[in-house]
Symmetry: C2
Subunit: 194 residues, 2 copies
């Protein structure tokens, strides 16, 4: 994918990239995408985040195994393996575990202090021509991931972002007209079915 440095066309060019080339991703690049993440807003500007950059093959192998169990748990053994072109995590150059400090029981708004940062990370990656994909499915085995990664009490792994140079080119994403999701002053459409 070509780099994009134009904000006006950045967003429609973010795609879920689940397979990567062998080209290594250097530390300077990883630092730059995490730097972008840290400039995100957070509740009361607490910046309650930590990022675990996983490159160690042994660690990726353990994570990959548990992640595949999550897929089995949801889709069952009958699901066609790799139907979405997804590489196993063992082959992904870098996994970035995005953690948030949480006090009390998490709710929807908890995510308001981590997913803007995660989105910055993915957008900055895209601007450099790198691919990412948001994953949260691993939370089905949240306790095991926390154990594998040594995440302490009071912190939650909110997303794991595979990062690498894409296996191929990806075109823009497509969305319905904006009008279909916009209302004026109050909810005016009948309750839609998701």
């Amino acid at each position: 994918m070509k780099p994009i440095n134009d904000v006006a066309t950045l967003f429609e060019n973010q795609r879920a990239v689940r397979a990567f080339s062998d080209r290594p991703v250097d530390d300077t690049t990883v630092t730059e995408v995490i730097r972008a993440a840290t400039h995100a807003p957070s509740s009361q500007n607490a910046q309650p985040w930590r990022f675990i950059v996983v490159r160690d093959p042994a660690q990726k192998a353990v994570m990959s195994e548990v992640y595949e169990e999550c897929f089995l748990q949801v889709y069952g053994a009958g699901a066609p393996a790799r139907a979405d072109g997804r590489q196993p995590w063992t082959q992904v150059p870098v996994l970035i575990v995005c953690c948030i400090g949480v006090q009390g029981r998490p709710n929807i708004a908890t995510g308001a202090s981590i997913y803007p940062a995660v989105q910055n990370l993915m957008l900055r990656a895209r601007s450099l021509g790198l691919g990412t994909v948001m994953t949260t499915l691993f939370r089905l085995q949240r306790d095991r991931f926390h154990e594998i990664l040594g995440i302490p009490e009071g912190w939650e792994a909110a997303a794991i972002i595979p990062l690498g140079w894409p296996d191929r080119n990806y075109g823009p994403n497509h969305r319905p007209p904006v009008d279909e999701v916009v209302m004026r002053d109050r909810w005016t459409e009948p309750q839609p079915n998701l």
Copy 2:
């Protein structure tokens, strides 16, 4: 604030803007920032979002009143009014209520399908020279906001974004060195105090 069309410098120039000039924000601009939002990733690409664009003064007045109650609830009557330069919502040109369709009990990962979109909205606004601020405090009075806005069962207001031309210039935001929030392969720092 000057427009920014350079992705490399966009993120550090996002600031919380809580006061706005009288300059109106036209519908084309509002549509453009929401368009950017809709290009965000979401779980299984469900795009489970709706945006309520509030311009009606009467509706803003009611929302403003309940929002002020949320502040009282948290900070008490002793808190200096408007200490952060915050305008009341009655004076904000546009309020954008960002809603997410939710099945089952919300958790951290629920936010993964709405806050990337909200962040796109705020980043696109910043690139055009517009100010925004993420607010979730209103959820202290979630039921009343849902009633005022007519949000149906199965949907949640996840953020309300005030949008307008900033009252003044805002410089870049500042963050500690990236190294302070990055670990390698596993959690290696002692549990920090947030």
